[in-house]
Symmetry: C2
Subunit: 191 residues, 2 copies
């Protein structure tokens, strides 16, 4: 493991737990046993360090959204599965984006992540009709992402097997997004 990689890993952990603004370059340097100047040697600025950490996940999500047919894609098992896999793959970065994306949209890479969340919300609007439907999407995807972030933060993720987690999340999403015929009929009658 090079110092470069060390710094990125340490910064990710600190950004996720203590927050980007509250994590100083000095602290990252101390934890890595090096100097602040050397951190700025490897990463030209604090913002670029953040970008280096966050970009891969954002790029991934971007690609996933590009591959969607807005009209019907959101319900497809393929998309749901890909979405869950993406969240699990970038498990450490998700809390960072979820919890601090709002705060940091003056930082370019985080602004991008906000735009992508807006794009997801727009997909909900296109793929669904009623308020009820939109909320169902919001609660489903938001709930899964946020639960993952909270579990990571509260230190509960170590206890759970990743494969169990994956199948359970898929099941819940399936229940929420493919409601029974009776529910649909009832829902339509209320709008």
């Amino acid at each position: 493991m090079t110092l470069h990689d060390d710094l990125r890993a340490i910064a990710l952990a600190e950004f996720a737990t203590s927050g980007y603004a509250a994590t100083s370059l000095q602290r990252i340097a101390d934890l890595a046993g090096t100097s602040k100047a050397s951190v700025l040697y490897h990463f030209a600025s604090k913002e670029l360090l953040l970008a280096d950490i966050v970009s891969p996940a954002v790029d991934d999500l971007d690609r996933l959204l590009d591959s969607i047919d807005p009209a019907s894609g959101l319900r497809h098992a393929d998309f749901v599965e890909n979405f869950v896999d993406l969240l699990l793959r970038h498990r450490q970065v998700v809390p960072l984006i979820i919890n601090q994306g709002a705060t940091l949209d003056d930082v370019p890479v985080m602004h991008r992540s906000t735009e992508i969340m807006r794009r997801v919300a727009e997909l909900f609007r296109l793929a669904s009709g009623s308020t009820m439907e939109k909320l169902r999407f919001g609660v489903a995807f938001g709930g899964v992402a946020y639960t993952l972030a909270a579990a990571e933060r509260l230190g509960l993720s170590g206890e759970i097997d990743v494969d169990d987690l994956r199948s359970a999340l898929l099941r819940i999403l399936h229940e929420l997004l493919v409601p029974s015929a009776a529910d649909l009929a009832d829902s339509n009658s209320k709008d």
Copy 2:
């Protein structure tokens, strides 16, 4: 509206949208058309200003959790309804706690909110058996809270009637937390 109340309202809006750390007392003062020193006259410190804003919601949630019978309370329609009402009542503060509680637990009042979230997670553990069940609670409550926060942040909350929102959220929670007999049987067979 007194200056005191003005300051609290402005600070809440700025904390929620730009983040606590990124919002300086100087900026709050500028937006209120007064001086930084006068902000510190009304609120002894920045932390106490945050506490003044957040405490009511945290106290509310604390009281709600005190009134719960851990074994069966989480499914009761009463609790679900009270929880949703609480979120809606403190709609402006929820994004602040959801998005920045992680970052600010060195601030006493936010540490309290983290502890309360941990208490909610503990309730999940007591009230449910399998991993599947715990996740169901997590996705349900986390999803509702986070969706509300995201809607507030992305500026989508203005379009939706509060009563509609309330009944839709209650419906989704009910679906998730009171699964059909078939689902339960299937779930048990997998654990």
